[in-house]
Each structure stands twice: as structure tokens, then as C-alpha cells.
């Protein structure tokens, strides 16, 4: 087979694979705009004759979806901002300075990534229960508890990943900045921070997804304050044995997926560069 034909074949395969991979998302969006009768038809069509926003209306009005969407955004944004700030400082410390216990700390960071989050739900539940009396915002039934937990679980990975990016910035640059009279602090925020941007983007995407996807902690920590629930849990209220409102579930799923998808598309170039950077380092 000549080169062109083999490339053509490869491209045909690629397109088919892409279609299969994207199909569940297409089906989600399609179901969300189908009228109810079409959704629960025994022979579902892969298109719709009468698109409608009824399912979205049901999802948004009946179940107060807007509030849950807001909660999810608040948690995810707080986790991303805090983890960027804290992991950048920590990664700088771990690459720019030599101090006793540095290697041990690095190994610890790697090891704690392996600890199954699910196992820690039990002690964390008790911890949040006692925090409730001291600082209610970070205790059970409050969004703060989710922020804290996700922050803790995204930090080790974020630090580990950013380390490579910080290390890649030449030390001479810092020396030059110091000679020009820039303080260490100014160097950190005005030179180093922008230079590790691809790394920051990649880590923020990963911590965003982490917080946005969480089902377990929201389920465990937000027990009696329904108004503080996040999207993954809110979606579950439509699921009832044998009478699922599939239209509303798919509309809710669509609303939940759109922000992440937008975020991904916005940063995709930098994300690939970030992963490649992490790989090279």
C-alpha cells in the first residue's frame, strides 16, 4: 500500500474512533433536547423531530439546579486558586532551595498520592464533625469542608507536577533579576510565575476536574443541608428506581459537562504543552 492510501486509511479509522468516543456525549445532548415521549421510546432514534428545552426547565426549576451549579463552581474555583498558590510556593521551595529533609519530603508527596481517598473518608468524616464546633464553615454540611479536602488531595500532585516547570527556569535568570535590584518576592511573582504558566494551567485543570467530579465527599459530608449540595449529588435526585426522568438527568448532565468542556477547550493547547513539559522534566 502506498503512503497516501495508508494515511487515508488511518484517517478513516481515526474519524470512526472519534465518532464512537464522542457518541455518549452526543446522546446526552440529544436526549436533553428530546421531548419526553421520544426519550422513553422503545426504539430511540439518533435524532429528534421536535427539539425542546423542557428537560432543562425541569432540571433547573424543580430541583434548584442553579444553586447546585453555583456551589460546584465555588468549590472548584476555590480549590484551583488555593492549590495554585500553595503548590507554586511549595514547588519553588523544593526546587530552588536545598535543605535537610527535602528528598524525604518529595518521597512523602509521592507516597501520599497513592493513599486511597475513599479510605480516608471515615476519619475525615469524624474530623469534619469536630471541626463543625470550632469553625462551622469548614465542618460538615458546609462547602468549606469540600474545599479543604479537595485542596489536600490535589496538592501533592500539583506540587509534584509544578516542580519540573520551576526547575526548568534557569537559575541565571534569578541572579540577573537580583542584580537588577528585584527582590526575591518580586522575582517570584513577576518572573517565575508567568514562566511556569503551562504547568500552572495543567495543574489547575487537574485540580478543577478533581473537585468538580467529586461525588463521594459531597455525599458523605453534606448530609443534612441540601442547599449546600453539589452537582454530582443533585443529579442523583432524578434517579429513582424504575422511573428515572432520563430527560432531566441528561439535561443536568449536559449543564454539568459544559463548564468543564469550555475550560478544556480554552486551555487545550497549554494543557498538551503542560503534559509534554511534565514528561520532559
Amino acid at each position: 500500500m502506498n503512503r497516501r492510501a495508508s494515511r487515508g486509511l488511518a484517517e478513516a479509522v481515526t474519524v470512526v474512533v472519534a465518532a464512537v468516543v464522542a457518541f455518549p456525549l452526543y446522546w446526552m445532548a440529544l436526549t436533553a433536547v428530546k421531548p419526553e415521549a421520544e426519550v422513553i421510546s422503545a426504539d430511540p432514534r439518533p435524532w429528534t423531530l421536535a427539539p425542546t428545552l423542557d428537560s432543562f426547565t425541569r432540571a433547573l426549576t424543580v430541583q434548584n439546579f442553579g444553586r447546585y451549579l453555583l456551589n460546584s463552581v465555588v468549590v472548584a474555583v476555590a480549590v484551583v486558586l488555593l492549590s495554585l498558590l500553595i503548590s507554586f510556593l511549595a514547588a519553588t521551595a523544593l526546587t530552588r532551595f536545598r535543605f535537610r529533609g527535602r528528598t524525604t519530603l518529595l518521597i512523602m508527596l509521592l507516597v501520599v498520592q497513592m493513599v486511597p481517598v475513599e479510605a480516608l473518608t471515615i476519619p475525615l468524616f469524624f474530623l469534619m464533625r469536630s471541626v463543625r464546633d470550632v469553625a462551622p464553615v469548614f465542618g460538615l454540611n458546609h462547602l468549606g469542608s469540600l474545599v479543604l479536602v479537595h485542596l489536600a488531595f490535589s496538592l501533592p500532585f500539583a506540587i509534584w507536577m509544578l516542580r519540573g516547570f520551576v526547575a526548568a527556569v534557569p537559575v541565571e535568570l534569578e541572579e540577573a533579576a537580583t542584580l537588577d535590584g528585584a527582590s526575591r518576592f518580586r522575582f517570584l511573582w513577576q518572573v517565575l510565575f508567568p514562566l511556569v504558566a503551562p504547568g500552572l494551567v495543567a495543574t489547575s485543570v487537574l485540580s478543577f476536574i478533581h473537585a468538580w467530579n467529586d461525588f463521594l465527599f459531597a455525599k458523605t459530608f453534606i448530609i443534612s443541608a441540601a442547599e449546600n449540595q453539589t452537582l454530582p449529588l443533585a443529579l442523583q435526585v432524578f434517579v429513582k428506581p424504575d422511573q428515572n426522568d432520563w430527560g432531566a438527568i441528561m439535561a443536568g448532565s449536559t449543564l454539568m459537562t459544559i463548564p468543564v468542556l469550555l475550560f478544556f477547550i480554552l486551555v487545550q493547547r497549554r494543557l498538551v504543552a503542560g503534559l509534554a513539559g511534565a514528561v520532559k522534566s
Binding site: V17, L25, M114, L127, V279
Partner: protein
């Protein structure tokens, strides 16, 4: 790297916030987890209605002598193995495919993969459930198997969940490996071509060795993720399947603790899981060392 005096103090200041969060929300809970696993800790003890009884290794002996635990452990390992193998095969194959096509086709594939990757786990699990729904599912319609419940049979249910897990986790492997292949300098491949190396030879003796560290990283990451799958199992099999047939370790731990109020027993399952994953981590560290990563 600077080694000036006073570095230690500044380094500590930079590290302080991270350490505070990690010690408070990971270190302390790990210690607590081990502690709880040594007690008979049930609903009565939680509400303060009964005193705590120290069991020592009692929860562990109960666990290890329970046939159910071994069954769940076996299922967890088997399920994770299938997911890891599937994710790596699909991810690697598509990464290679992506290097062989023009930009428009690659972008199409990457966009689709980005979509699968971006889909929140809960949404993804629900979509797959609907696609495979017994009565209204598109898959049954296409296969002509209307009425077939994919989540009823134990192995069909595991297979369905595994397919969903692979769907949402292959993009990471694909993008990472693609980036890795792209970062191999063109000269290296040209040199191989000049030496008359075949495609297979180039792949096995030039590309694969160069990608080895990366392959190790994505493999271990996948092992860790797939060993810990929670949401998909919980949602797609409705909390672990009929009579708990589709339980994996962490869903089992969660159910023992929060559904059966056996916090001590749940914690001991968590400790066993952590120990198993730490073994994997040790292997990971050794692999990193051998591949020349400097810590």
C-alpha cells in the same frame, strides 16, 4: 540551586501552607484511620451511647477470615487489571495513530477524547447507563436485544463499568504518550531510518526505550486510579450490584462504614487497601530510580 545560609528558613516559609494542609488533612486522618481500625467502632460508639472497645487486630482477623473479603479483593484486582490493560492499549494505539494522520483528523480525535475526559464522572456513568438501559437504551436497540439488562448479570455489569472507565481514562494516556512520541527528536528517527531500520525495529529499539519512563508513569497512574474506582461502580451498579456482587474494595469499605455503621471494620479495609497501594508505590519509586529520575 542556591545553598546560601537562611535558605532553610525561607524554604520552610514557602512550604508552610502546603505542610499545614497536608499534615492536617492527610497525615492526621491516616493516623486516625489506623486508630479507628483497632476499635469496635459502631453507631453506638459514634453517638456516645457505648464505650469504645479496643479490639487490637480483631477487625483484621475478622476481615481476613471472611471469604467475602477475599472475593471482593480478587474482584478489585481483576477489575483494575482489565481497566488498566484496556486504558493503556486504547491510549497507546490511538497515540500512535494520531502521529500518522494529518492535523484535521488528529484534532477531531483529540476533541472527542477531550470531551470524554472532561465529562464529569457522575454524568459519564449516567450517560452510559442510559445508553445501555434495558428498555430505552440505544445499544439494545441497535443490537436488537431490547429488554436485556446489562447491570443485572455480574460480569456484564463489571464489563459495562470497565468500558466506561476506559472511555474516560484513555484520553490522559493518549495525550501524554502522544506528547512523549512528539518530543523524540526527529534526528533520532532519521538516523534510525538511515541505518535501514524497519518500522518495527525503530519502534521496539528506538521509540519504546525512549518512552519507557513515560510508560511506567502512565501505567502506575492507571493502576492507582483503577484500583480506586468508586463513583462508576457506585452509580452504575447502584451501590455495588445486586447482593453486593459488584463490590470493589473501597465501595465495600464505604458500605461497611457508612451504610452498616461498622466504622472500625470499614477503616481496616481502608488500611489493607492503603498497604496494597503503598506496595505499588514502592515499585513505582524503584522504577523511577532505575529510569534515572533524580529526586
Amino acid at each position: 540551586m542556591r545553598t546560601a545560609k537562611g535558605d532553610g528558613r525561607i524554604a520552610f516559609a514557602y512550604l508552610a501552607p502546603a505542610l499545614l494542609v497536608l499534615v492536617g488533612l492527610m497525615g492526621y486522618p491516616i493516623y486516625q484511620l489506623v486508630l479507628i481500625s483497632l476499635f469496635d467502632y459502631g453507631q453506638e460508639q459514634v453517638s456516645g451511647g457505648a464505650p469504645l472497645t479496643f479490639l487490637g487486630l480483631g477487625n483484621y482477623t475478622a476481615l481476613l477470615s471472611d471469604a467475602r473479603f477475599w472475593a471482593v479483593l480478587g474482584q478489585t484486582v481483576g477489575f483494575a487489571a482489565v481497566c488498566v490493560a484496556g486504558t493503556l492499549l486504547v491510549g497507546a494505539a490511538l497515540a500512535v495513530l494520531a502521529t500518522r494522520v494529518r492535523t484535521w483528523a488528529r484534532m477531531t480525535l483529540f476533541l472527542a477524547a477531550l470531551g470524554a475526559w472532561a465529562t464529569p464522572t457522575v454524568a459519564g456513568s449516567t450517560i452510559w447507563l442510559f445508553l445501555f438501559d434495558a428498555n430505552f437504551g440505544f445499544v439494545n436497540e441497535v443490537l436488537g436485544t431490547t429488554g436485556l439488562s446489562w447491570t443485572y448479570d455480574k460480569w456484564l455489569a463489571f464489563g459495562l463499568v470497565a468500558a466506561q472507565v476506559i472511555w474516560c481514562s484513555f484520553p490522559f494516556v493518549m495525550v501524554t504518550l502522544y506528547a512523549g512520541i512528539k518530543s523524540i527528536p526527529g534526528e533520532v528517527l532519521e538516523a534510525a531510518a538511515l541505518d535501514g531500520a524497519s518500522t518495527v525495529k525503530t519502534t521496539t529499539s528506538v521509540i519504546l526505550p525512549l518512552l519507557r519512563p513515560l510508560l511506567i508513569v502512565v501505567t502506575i497512574q492507571s493502576v492507582i486510579w483503577d484500583f480506586k474506582v468508586f463513583t462508576q461502580i457506585y452509580i452504575m451498579t447502584n451501590g455495588g450490584g445486586i447482593a453486593g456482587r459488584n463490590l470493589v474494595l473501597n465501595v465495600y469499605a464505604y458500605q461497611q462504614a457508612f451504610a452498616a455503621s461498622e466504622y472500625g471494620l470499614g477503616a481496616s479495609i481502608g488500611v489493607v487497601m492503603t498497604a496494597l497501594l503503598l506496595l505499588v508505590t514502592l515499585g513505582y519509586l524503584r522504577a523511577l530510580r532505575r529510569s534515572g529520575e533524580v529526586l
